[in-house]
Point group: C2
Chain length 318, copies 2
């Protein structure tokens, strides 16, 4: 059942022990929001911890230090943070599906799986709701909470660049900076800085970039050899599928990642008016209108030929 | 002479006709601040225009539409916007040096060349001062002013990523969004999308990047030849000085641009704790603690050697 802020605050006040859940392939919003809320609940004298998320990558560890537990403590109320549906629980939280009492979320697509859900889709980040909640609970926001919340706000807005950024997001960011958030360090680590391996990868992708159809289509590919040459790990290729998307005038951006098995995974990003999911359906794939994908077991060259054929078929661009 | 906000406001009120000046190689802060202030002065019923800046690249044109004039109107008070020193005037404004009555600026290095200067170095962008000034003057901020001011705020902070971003910057950005600034379109155009020529330049810079001092110093350089090979214009190299700054672990990022004349222009960006302006002072340059510059007439190799020497002298990094 979805509820109002004041009823959600009352529900939190009424309980003494919480286990916070985050979503699979967790980002700075689910982890930062959970970290700040966990600290806030502890500041109120409650028991609170976050269920260890096996998918969380190393760079989030400092925010979670001292907050995570390997399994659900006896009798803890399950509180989902930034999780739109139970299908998004990480593997180790799957057994908790159907038992989640509370949910704080900003996804309009929230399925209402929790006993009581406070969902505010107008918020760019779940972190905005957590700040609001902490204020309602009368918890002073510590520097550690502020940093976690700034991470949440900045992550879901691409550091305030995306169209979901609102005046409230920016003001909350200002407030977190005043509360001691290490804003510059977070901006640097998450939005400005890339590893030398990542820069080398981008340089090599740039060298190999194909621009077709008078600049409307861009194609680039990442192979295991390229990763080896650049000394890159999985952490270095996060979001690399957006690389060909950043070029002015490109309406269909194709990124092909060749796996060590030889299989090619295509990511297609398109402008409004070009349905990426229809194009990828020609290759047995799917997704959203603006971002879709397909797998081609025959490898890179076959993947390139097939996706360009499908783009030509659907858009006339060739 | 530097002055207080209230005396500066009085000086503006006392005059009826203004010509606004912007700095050479103008960015979104000098142009956006001047555009908003020009509109604000006109809203007060005053005569105001901006001296055409021959260096201004195409993408700024929409912000300047209807505001610029080719030469100084008779009797107009000269008002410098975001110009730290008269040496930064564009060529067509050089004859006005020594005659500038008013200056609004946020550079701590402002030389005090104007009759009356209002300088607030704690502001990340000159745009913050202009918003403050417009409020003091009682001018309602229109959507066009808000977009120009959002451009100013976002430009000088790398879209709120740089260390100069303060809670005030973020709150002013929120306020400009509420006043009708086209924040998302500006973010897209100025911070998300790049031209193919720009991508090619970055690729070649990546190929030629030097990483020194165990990864603490990065050096890259842009020559007229490289620009020619990439089909790049001045519009494609804006902010390219930040390119070496993005690498993990780099504390002093050096970017050297060689002009067609052979002169080398150094941009130095540094981590907190390393004063870029002190380092550049060794080469007769200056700027801010985190970003400074210097010119070396002898060219690329001399510039590279001198700036590395100055960094070693000030930081011990070598």
């Amino acid at each position: 059942m979805t509820t109002t802020r004041s009823d959600f605050v009352s529900a939190i006040r009424a309980q003494d022990s919480f286990l916070l859940l985050t979503h699979r392939r967790p980002d700075g919003d689910t982890l930062g929001s959970a970290a700040a809320l966990c600290r806030g609940l502890r500041a109120l004298g409650k028991q609170a911890s976050i269920l260890h998320n096996p998918d969380a990558i190393e760079k989030y560890s400092p925010f979670l230090q001292g907050l995570t537990v390997p399994q659900a403590p006896e009798g803890a109320v399950l509180l989902a943070v930034d999780i739109a549906s139970e299908s998004l629980l990480p593997d180790n939280a799957r057994p908790l599906a159907g038992k989640i009492q509370l949910c704080i979320d900003h996804h309009g697509s929230n399925t209402g799986y929790a006993g009581l859900s406070w969902v505010q889709p107008e918020c760019a980040a779940c972190g905005e709701l957590v700040i609001d909640l902490l204020e309602q609970l009368g918890v002073p926001i510590s520097a550690a909470m502020a940093s976690a919340l700034y991470l949440a706000l900045s992550t879901d807005t691409g550091c305030f660049r995306f169209s979901n950024t609102t005046p409230n997001t920016l003001r909350r960011a200002a407030q977190m900076q005043e509360a001691g958030a290490e804003t510059f360090a977070i901006n640097q680590q998450f939005f400005s800085i890339k590893s030398l391996a990542r820069l080398r990868l981008e340089t090599m992708l740039g060298e190999r970039l194909e621009v077709l159809a008078g600049g409307r289509i861009a194609v680039c590919s990442l192979t295991p050899e390229l990763m080896r040459v650049c000394g890159a790990t999985d952490a270095d290729i996060e979001d690399l599928a957006n690389f060909p998307r950043q070029i002015e005038g490109v309406a269909a951006a194709v990124y092909i990642r060749v796996l060590p098995s030889g299989e090619a995974k295509i990511s297609l990003r398109t402008d409004p008016g070009i349905d990426a999911s229809r194009i990828c359906a020609h290759l047995g794939g799917g997704g959203h209108a603006a971002a879709a994908g397909a797998a081609v077991p025959e490898g890179l060259e076959a993947a390139r030929a097939k996706i360009l054929d499908a783009i030509a078929l659907e858009t006339g661009l060739a």
